[in-house]
């Protein structure tokens, strides 16, 4: 990644941050929530490039969200930065532990096993009455380095926090995807045995990818918990994971910024659909997914990057 692109990215995000006070508040909350989904999708892209589709990313998302809620409730932690850091660490830790099992599997087995693990968390949360069962628990309003903005100020503060997280995630994930370990993703998808012959352990590489993607999902969960001010077991349910996969299909794995744009587009389409068709908004959402698959099979990201013609585009393959 060139210095120019980093500067450009920082300028765009900085411009968005500066525009916040002139934007309707509902739109800012909506964008903040979309960014939390974007962070999760960012992590999914890392796995996606290696041919791995987890249907249980909600496990790490919910871990992050509940970490924020419980750290506030049990230990009185209120600082948003500290809460986010705790959520990232917890989610990565969970991924590191389950990774020893999960990294052994590929394709549908990987998808289903990750789904099963997230449903275990869902089941545990639903049965724990002290954690509010299905009703969930409220998250106290956070502070920012000692400052306690309230009202619209809180919405802005969360939005700026979200922009900061998006920027870090963009830098970090782009750097990782450009590294040797990141570049090997395509090779893992195509032929694992060859990668092993290069002297690299595919299992360990998948384990690492899983942990990174879980850390991002944890960050997304923390941001969601802070901006909704409520967590519930639905966050660990398979439909939540399905929603992340939906956005990943919409965004495609070609570019990292597309993850955030895809998430934003998804949230905007959903909210318009709810406003236009209160009794059938799911129809609109489904149609958008269908149209995407028909017209932009590689996702929105493929519209954003300059693409060198490949053999398949020339109609040879």
């Amino acid at each position: 990644m060139t210095g120019l692109r980093i500067f450009l990215g920082a300028a765009i995000l900085g411009g968005l941050g500066a525009a916040a006070p002139f934007t309707p508040l509902w739109l800012i909350s909506l964008v903040t929530l979309a960014m939390s989904t974007g962070l999760v999708v960012c992590g999914l892209i890392i796995l996606w490039r290696g041919g791995l589709v987890p249907f249980g990313q909600a496990l790490f998302f919910a871990t992050g969200a509940y970490t924020v809620a419980l750290a506030g409730r049990w230990f009185g932690v209120t600082d948003a930065f500290l809460l986010t850091a705790l959520a990232v660490i917890m989610a990565a830790l969970v991924a590191f532990v389950v990774g020893f099992l999960l990294a052994q599997y590929r394709e549908i087995f990987f998808a289903m096993l990750s789904l099963a693990l997230s449903m275990i968390l869902y089941g545990v949360l639903v049965k724990s009455e002290t954690l509010g069962s299905t009703d969930g628990i409220n998250v106290a309003q956070a502070s920012f380095l000692g400052m306690k903005p309230r009202g619209p100020g809180y919405t802005f503060a969360l939005f700026w926090l979200a922009l900061g997280m998006v920027f870090s995630a963009w830098l970090g994930v782009s750097a990782y995807l450009g590294s040797v370990a990141g570049q090997l993703a395509g090779a893992i998808r195509d032929n694992e045995i060859r990668v092993e012959y290069l002297g690299i352990s595919v299992t360990r590489l998948v384990h690492l990818k899983l942990t990174i993607s879980a850390a991002l999902a944890g960050a997304g969960g923390a941001l969601a918990a802070l901006s909704i001010s409520h967590v519930d077991p639905q966050m660990a349910y398979w439909t939540t994971s399905g929603g992340f996969v939906f956005v990943t299909i919409l965004a495609g794995a070609a570019s990292v910024p597309a993850a955030f744009l895809g998430a934003l587009l998804f949230e905007i389409v959903r909210t318009i659909a709810v406003a236009l068709l209160p009794g059938g908004w799911q129809l609109i959402l489904g149609s958008v997914l269908l149209l995407t698959i028909l017209f932009v099979p590689e996702g929105l990201g493929s519209l954003m990057i300059r693409k060198r013609p490949t053999i398949s585009d020339k109609g040879v393959a």
Partner: protein, 448 residues
């Protein structure tokens, strides 16, 4: 799909890009147009957000009756056709413009749509929410945005017990009353009860209902023991193992807070295996399924309706009118969620007009309505509601329980032996949480 020439490929990508780019641009344009389209009347209308399940499994039993009730109440209020004391048009003369939103989707969606209603669509008040989880999630946002919100159907006692709220109200009594009422009715029918069992869905509503029922039974009949405590998962649909367990338990009474598909399949499945011949079933939310199942429910089954609603409602002019207009429009009797919606809207109207009267008939500010709402008493179609607990934000009312009977001559489901318990008999006092009240043995309960 890769076998196309470059230009066709480009055209497709461009058209897709245009399509996606058009959506976010279209939204801010489309929304104000929709708002401007209404003609401006003499008194500016009151915009009312109405959130209830329009899709999903909770739509049929709760969401749609709630929406139907809101639709008809708003139409009749605007026309000034509701009987006294609600005969004035709209809210203190201002017509009500409803905006319906689907409650289905994640909590994040609900919070986002709540903000959209308040900050984008500029609604003046919101009436809604069936799911207790959504109520708990929306409450702090309502406080943050200073948006007057009336919860209409959610049952969890936690809303006002965790922290005091200023802008949130609930005219519908919370779920503790359902289970205290059930315990009292069960002990009236079976004074010598030795043991009882329960089957409840393993999620917040089922767990809370069972906990409250057991606590109330402990207080009222300390000798009765819990036999089988079953918590199958939500929407399990198949209860063979649980019915076997209940058959071996042989308790006189089985408590259940089931609703929707689970309630209906449980009734059909346990009927086929003869469970009702051994144990009397108590369905605290049974009324929603009563008319659909009819003769499949055995006579003598104890049925609750989360208040003295539906066929257990008293024969007042307001109730007769409500049943009549509802049945004329929707060709079915209003079940309790319809009553909950009607009484929530009437509560809002009462507070609105009390605030307007204090200002000499002018349209009140939201903070005035909030002040007027606290502790108000008003007539619902089925009972008098008093905003007596939760610092004047939580309503209490009487509850009724009765026994099911299928009238073969008329082919009609009926409820007989109806007992009505006064509000103070089944609700905690203002200074106690429901759990603390139940555990202390329900001190101060006034039943006559």
């Amino acid at each position: 799909m890769h076998r196309m020439n470059e230009s066709a490929w480009l055209v497709r990508k461009l058209s897709a890009a245009v399509l996606f780019a058009a959506l976010p641009i279209a939204m801010p344009i489309a929304m104000p147009i929709a708002a401007v389209a209404q003609t401006a009347p003499a008194v500016p209308p009151v915009k009312l957000g109405l959130v209830t399940f329009l899709t999903g499994p909770a739509a049929g039993p709760f969401g749609i009756p709630g929406r139907n009730s809101a639709e008809i109440m708003i139409e009749m209020l605007n026309a000034g056709k509701v009987p006294a004391p609600y005969a004035t048009a709209g809210l203190a003369g201002a017509p009500i413009v409803p905006k319906f939103v689907d409650e289905a989707g994640s909590t994040a969606n609900q919070v986002t749509e709540f903000r959209n209603l308040v900050q984008r669509d500029g609604v003046n008040a919101i009436v809604g929410y069936v799911s207790s989880g959504n109520c708990l999630a929306v409450a702090p946002v309502a406080e943050e945005l200073k948006a007057l919100t009336v919860f209409f159907d959610c049952g969890t006692p936690r809303i006002f017990e965790e922290k005091p709220l200023k802008y949130v109200f609930r005219a519908t009594p919370h779920a503790t009353m359902d289970n205290v009422g059930a315990a009292r009715y069960v002990l009236k029918k079976f004074p010598e009860l030795a043991s009882f069992s329960g089957i409840n869905q393993n999620y917040a509503w089922g767990q809370d209902s069972w906990r409250d029922f057991v606590a109330a039974m402990k207080a009222l009949a300390p000798k009765a023991t819990v036999d089988k405590e079953l918590l199958p998962k939500l929407f399990a649909g198949e209860f063979g193992a649980e019915i076997s367990a209940l058959l071996t338990a042989n308790s006189k009474v089985v408590h259940s807070s089931f609703w929707n598909g689970d309630l209906e399949s449980f009734i059909v499945q346990n009927g086929a295996r003869g469970l009702p011949a051994r144990s009397t079933m108590v369905y605290t939310a049974g009324e929603t399924a009563m008319f659909r199942l009819g003769a499949k429910i055995p006579d003598g089954t104890i049925i609750g309706a989360r208040g003295p609603h539906g066929v257990m409602a008293p024969d007042t002019p307001l109730n007769k009118w409500f049943r009549q207009v509802y049945e004329d429009r929707f060709a079915t009797a209003p079940t309790y969620p319809a009553y909950h919606m009607a009484q929530s809207i009437l509560g809002l109207k009462s507070a609105w007009e009390k605030a307007a009267a204090a200002k000499g008939g002018q349209q009140p500010a939201i903070d005035d309505v909030v002040k007027a709402f606290e502790g108000i008493e008003f007539e619902g179609p089925s009972a008098k509601i008093r905003m007596a607990i939760g610092n004047g934000h939580q309503g209490i009312a009487d509850i009724a329980y009765g026994s099911f009977r299928f009238n073969k001559a008329e082919g009609k489901a009926e409820i007989v032996d109806i007992v009505r318990y006064p509000a103070e008999c089944v609700n905690p006092p203002a200074n106690m949480t429901s759990t603390a009240w139940l555990e202390a043995g329900m001190p101060g309960a006034k039943c006559n």
